[in-house]
Amino acid sequence: MGSPQVAMLSRHADSAYWIGRYVERSEATARMIDVHYHFGLESGEVAKALRWSSILAISGLEKEFAELYDKEDEASILQFFAFDERNPSSIKSCIRSARENARSIRDQISSEMFECANRTYLAYGPWNLERVLAESPFEFFQFVKDRTLLFQGIMNRTLMMGPTRDFVDCGRFLERADQTARILDVKYFDLLPHYSGEGVISDSEPISVGGPIDIHGWTAVLKSVGAYEAFCKSYSEGVTPKRVAEFLILSRQFPASVRHGALRVQSCLDRISNRSDSDKLKSAQIETEKLLLMLNSKNANDIIREGLHEYLEEIGERFELVGEAVYRDFLEY
């Protein structure tokens, strides 16, 4: 038996980390736009609540978008998020960057992983906005989700447990948990007036909330992070804003919840820095602990009473601190 690999080149780790982030970001973006597109079809009312511009708010790219486009309409938003290579977070840019990073460390990952990233990149080329709208947006989003999930599956099956994988996962879960927090933050704001009318949620929620449109809207939020079915299994009482927030922030079991993401990041960092061997915690581990402390010290009622937006904003800042510490500890060279 060979000895397990513990150290890796910082440059390789950097690429692995970004593969995780880019693959996750392309999947998350596809899910989010998919849900917006398809929910908007049914009801004009919902379409208003699920305004296209909220996708901009979630991504934090309002300024970049405004510099490039005149209108915040469906076609512009789709173009900006799916195909515009001037947007480094567009699906196209993410797929290209994931493939470039995979190419630069193709000796570190499995051949099948590179081949998958490469084939995805090649297959994405022929797609454009006209084709998506003319043929089938559903098929397009499905294609992106399938390819990104295939990549993750291939990694799970073929890549050795070790630092390369831990760095990919670290990037992946940071990105995913962060995305979930952003979606919830923006959507909560969008949907709030529809729910209570006065912008305040009481501790004891009624069993049935709002009208069909509210339920429809909250269902969309869940679906945009792929959480709807998992939510239904966990809450037989039905959809309410508090339950959605609780599920997306605090669930330990749901793979896209903020807490699940933070726990996964923690275990990656522990393995990378070999916690058992050393009493000295890396700063990335400390920052993750602080994030988890925040998640462990409040329940959903407290969070909502004290202000969900403020809470999620702090979560977002904590994620940023973790990301910066990862750079400081492992990737800067």
Binding site: G2, V6, M8, L9, S10, E100, L122, I272
Partner: protein, 486 residues
């Protein structure tokens, strides 16, 4: 040999012409070589549709796997798949035995020569090779005089280009003693053929070649004691051979590093890892001498590692290939390789060379200038098919223009008669046609004196009709090379 049953070739080979060239598969128009008859019959029976289908599968595989090379001077679509022709080139066991023996002898002599010119200079003092020619060669590294290298091996990996002339004699065209490339295509072509043409292998006894990465790693590990850390140094993802670098690093399970991943402290080379600096003992470098260390060679190089050369001289890190090996594959030195073999080994060369006229000898220069239209004139230190003139195929102006450069710097040019390279059938849409081929085996030398060559090499093919230039940068492709078992 028992005559093979006479199968009438009325399929894909029905109109095949050897056109007077030595053919790798055919003895003459009607008859394949004995060792090729099964293969030829099997190929002949395929339909064009079937063959095209397999070509598509092969192309798709190459594109999907990103098995590409980079074309310089082309801003768009810089990664291209290296074209592969699916008709294998076959080498019979007895021919391979001869080639293998000759290559081992040759590389042994080249390594002895390098050790000599960087130490005692016996061969120069004895007047067997002119001293001027060596010490003024552009790739002679004066600063490496008297530097010792592990096991006195300078060229650990040598890629020697062989051609076959009109009667099938194998001749050495040139040696590549610096950073020869192409071995990944040799290995990938075999995998590709097994995937798209499994049936062809069933009736043949083809020698496996997949031991190459293992043998290479073994040689590299021998360059330092204990359990050394071996890395492959690449110029980066924009280098034309980046695919090969990552492929070999992956196959050997070693780190693929760039210059910026390494640093030198107190003459020790380290790589920057997630757990701090880690010492590096052996570097399989795919970066040319000039770019290796900005403190010693080109100061503008961003690919290299400051201080690496000093560490190498101090013996704390081993490099493969060594520094200064370019003096052994200089095309003006090439005519002296048979002399090296006689001088160092006391043997006659096993492999023939190609008659060569060198520009630095006034008489030969005169001959080159007078007979340019019959000769292939090459720049002594260029590779990749750049800086050469194919006299018989060039226009009068092209010849005249080229000769201006030759006159300006005769030392830099050599000339050879145009050898009518052997041909091998290639598939062209719906039939086979002959195309010129060469063969580059990869010779691995270890510090213990052992030399290993996996049976075969990269067969490069000039895909353009009538072309003699096989380089990938000049419209060349490749084929799987089958060395048959005895």
């Amino acid at each position: 040999m028992k005559p093979s049953h006479t199968h009438v070739l009325d399929g894909l080979f029905a109109k095949y012409q050897t056109e007077g060239f030595y053919d790798e598969l055919f003895e003459d128009l009607e008859k394949p070589h004995g060792h090729c008859s099964k293969l030829v019959n099997a190929l002949d029976r395929l339909t064009p549709e079937d063959f095209r289908g397999r070509c598509s599968l092969a192309d798709l595989t190459l594109v999907n796997q990103g098995i590409t090379f980079t074309v310089y001077g082309n801003e768009q679509g810089i990664e291209k798949p290296f074209p592969v022709d699916l008709v294998p080139r076959v080498v019979q066991a007895s021919d391979w035995a001869h080639v293998e023996k000759g290559l081992k002898q040759r590389v042994r002599a080249l390594n002895l020569f390098l050790h000599d010119v960087y130490h005692e200079e016996k061969i120069l003092r004895d007047g067997r090779i002119p001293r001027d020619l060596i010490v003024n060669a552009p790739n002679y590294r004066r600063s490496f005089k008297d530097a010792d290298v592990p096991g006195n091996v300078y060229v650990h990996i040598c890629g020697t280009d062989l051609i076959r002339d009109h009667d099938g004699t194998y001749r050495v065209l040139e040696d590549n003693c610096r950073t020869p490339s192409g071995v990944s295509y040799m290995l990938e072509n075999r995998l590709l053929m097994m995937r798209v043409f499994p049936s062809l292998f069933r009736e043949q006894r083809v020698c496996p070649i997949d031991a190459y990465p293992n043998l290479l790693l073994k040689k590299l590990r021998q360059l330092a004691p204990g359990d050394p850390t071996v890395v492959l140094l690449t110029p980066g993802i924009f280098n034309s051979a980046y695919f090969e670098h990552s492929f070999l690093a992956m196959q050997m399970g070693i780190q693929l590093v760039e210059g910026r991943d390494l640093f030198v402290e107190k003459n020790i080379v380290f790589m920057k890892t997630t757990r701090g600096p880690k010492r590096v003992d052996v570097i399989y470098r795919r970066v040319d001498d000039d770019f290796l260390d900005p403190l010693v060679f080109r100061g503008d190089s961003v690919l290299g590692v400051p201080g690496l050369v000093n560490a190498y001289r101090a013996g704390t890190v081993a490099l493969a290939n060594g520094i200064g090996t370019g003096v052994a594959d200089d095309k003006s030195v090439y005519p002296y390789v048979p002399e090296m073999i006689r001088y160092y080994l006391g043997e006659e060369p096993v492999l023939e060379q190609v008659e060569t006229f060198v520009g630095w000898k006034p008489k030969e220069l005169e001959y080159i200038l007078d007979h340019a239209h019959e000769l292939v004139i090459k720049c002594a230190n260029e590779s990749g098919g750049y800086g050469m003139l194919m006299g018989p195929q060039a226009s009068k102006t092209e010849v005249a223009d080229f000769l201006v450069q030759v006159r300006a710097n005769p030392r830099n040019y050599i000339a050879q008669p145009l050898i009518s390279l052997s041909r091998s059938p290639c598939f062209l849409g719906d039939h086979f046609e002959g195309r010129h081929v060469d063969l580059r085996p990869y010779i691995l030398s270890g510090p213990d004196g052992e030399i290993d060559i996996v049976p075969g090499g990269l067969t490069r093919v000039a895909l353009r009709k009538g072309s003699y230039v096989v380089n990938s940068s000049q419209g060349g492709g490749s084929k799987d090379t089958w060395v048959l078992h005895k």
